[in-house]
């Protein structure tokens, strides 16, 4: 019983980070119809920002706060200069964003010198509850994710900006006809998605190691989550992330760990094939 709680807690921490990543990706996919293959590298950038802050003595905390801002800005710049050309042709968007991701990844790899870096947790140690030890940082991750999700949901459903975003999500043509500047909304949405990815990277990096390759793994898992959960809604990708996260953490119990890894992807892919629109469907893809 003890163990089950601890286990659930660890899965929850991992899944929270997945949810942050997937949320960003899903919002971009739903609104602009393009899949951002550079999303994993935006996570990497967030992690790298924390590393930089730590290296230069500013402390990991400032890194965690700076990461979403920095990566959000990067996302904004990317969107305004490169990505907006791709909206008409999603396939080329894939290639283009993949290229951007490749560039970012290799730049970071060059800067890191190919090394793996460890970053200390901003709040280390653990606290006891009910006789079990829980890592403080993991708790912080979970709490932050919940706050962000709640905040985003409130933003979408209660504010006028959120109303415009939802409108553009459901029917961009009509939104434009109503005078909503979709170009600006797209830029904002992309920046928002990027900021979320940056935050996720900053939160996860004390737990895993920083290396140039952490992006790809998150990318594939994030994509599967979005496709599983369905494009076009807020809840869909979140549900997808939970499903993929639980599978990734739970399968090693059922099959040997080395088989579990690829199995997650195969199963998820099969499910998407059978139900291409995902769990919850509304909207374009």
């Amino acid at each position: 019983m003890d163990f089950a709680i601890k286990f659930a807690f660890d899965i929850l921490a991992f899944t929270s980070v997945m949810v942050l990543i997937v949320l960003g990706l899903g919002v971009i996919a739903s609104m602009m119809g393009i899949f951002n293959f550079a999303h994993g590298e935006l996570v990497l950038l967030g992690a790298y920002t924390v590393y930089l802050c730590d290296e230069y003595g500013l402390g990991a905390w400032s890194g965690v706060i700076a990461a979403p801002i920095v990566v959000g800005l990067v996302g904004l710049v990317l969107e305004r200069t490169i990505i907006k050309r791709f909206y008409a042709v999603p396939i080329i968007a894939m290639l283009g964003t993949y290229a951007i991701g490749l560039v970012i990844r290799e730049i970071v790899r060059g800067l890191l010198g190919g090394h793996y870096k460890s970053i200390p947790e901003p709040i280390s140690g653990s606290f006891s509850a009910g006789g079990l030890d829980f890592s403080i940082w993991r708790s912080f991750v979970i709490v932050t994710t919940m706050v962000v999700i709640a905040g985003s949901w409130l933003l979408l459903s209660r504010t006028s900006v959120g109303l415009r975003v939802r409108g553009a999500l459901e029917n961009p043509m009509l939104a434009r006809a109503c005078g909503i500047s979709t170009a600006r909304l797209y830029a904002l949405t992309f920046a928002f998605g990027a900021a979320l990815a940056g935050l996720a990277g900053a939160l996860i990096v004390p737990l895993y190691q920083l290396s140039a390759d952490i992006g790809i793994r998150f990318l594939v898992q994030a994509f599967l989550s979005v496709m599983l959960g369905g494009v076009g809604t807020f809840e869909g990708p979140v549900l997808g992330a939970v499903a993929v996260g639980a599978m990734a953490a739970g399968l090693p119990w059922v099959v040997i760990p080395v088989l579990a890894d690829p199995l997650v992807f195969v199963i998820a892919l099969a499910v998407v094939r059978l139900r291409p629109q995902g769990f919850i469907t509304v909207g374009r893809l």
Partner: protein, 413 residues
Amino acid sequence: MSETDRTRGITRRHFLNGAGALTAAGWIAGFTGGWVLRPRWAHAAGPIKMGIATDITGAIAPSGNANWQVAQFAVEQINTAGGILGQPIELHLEDTASDPKIAVGNVRKLIQERKVDVVLGGITSAMRQAIKDPIVNRGRTLYIYPQLYEGQECTKFLFNTGPSPAQQCDRLIPYIMKTLGKKRFAMPSANYVWPQLLNKYARKVIEANGGEVVFEEYYPLDQAEYSATISKIKDGKVDCVFNTVIPPGLQPFVKQLYESGFQKNGGVLSCVYYDENLLNYHPAAEMEGLISCLDYFQAVDDPFSKTLQQGYAKKFPDTKYLFTAGSASTGMYRGVKFYEEAVKATGGKLGREEVAAALDHAVLKEGPGGGAAMVPGHYHAKMNMYIAVCKSEGGKTRYDVIDKADMVDPREC
């Protein structure tokens, strides 16, 4: 289609194509011409070419860079003393990038382009397996492998100057079991050949001494979640973790093990490749009590070793790549010096067969941690082995040597 159109078309496009072809041909000709002219690659008797193939980038970079620096240090010492029988050693470096795929291509460059006389390098067993074929078989070159490993490498022309499982486990495990009283072992391992064969050997020693291996598990190299493992350790009442997880999965594992309170409850973490370099990659608290068995620790009180360290520190002041045993640096030093001895014995001849024959019984009177001697016919070397425990004080870690064994037999091949 009119005649004039056609001729105009031919001229322009034809020209472009012709120009392209000519440039390509000229470029290729330039290559061949350039290299034949440069004197460095002249085939006349010149310096002894030593190739170093090690991981300058990637997960194993901390060890690889240490190797490269130690090689430079050792070669500089030899060259300052006049080289080997008057011939200087010329070092050629290729980065194996902790990636066997890239390594194969780069090592081939050492052999085919630089035409080195010997290659020293490779750290992980995966790397050794990948590059030994291009070096020894296809490249017909001598290969010296400097790192501690799982044994059973008995390839002709491949000499091992790092410790074997017998040298590491034969004293360490009985020490843990008898002196520290730990009998229940867990073997969390990286999924590749070194942990698998090392565990097999370690298991024999554990069971021969009356201990029990509670579980033995293999993970992908970049595994980051170890909750299942930690819980198995707790449930199985494991008191000694014989760890063979390597970076990048290493740091999360050690952190999660520490956070679970394993050491607090009296558990012992043992890892046979842990040296001073690796201590720096963890917070001090997580390292307290870690026990390791290597051919050298900086704490070893030996005048020659101390001189070596001073010389190394002078050449590379404030470097973060320390001259330690777990990173294969001691093996690299030994390898360079063994090669020097062998070439002296052949009278300066660099042919593979002659040098190998001389290398087979090369002896070093002095080295880090003591001398070493190749066991003839067995491709491995006898060396001193030390057991050390990590102590942390004020956020800093160090090793305390608690046992020494002289000229231990590798018992391989």
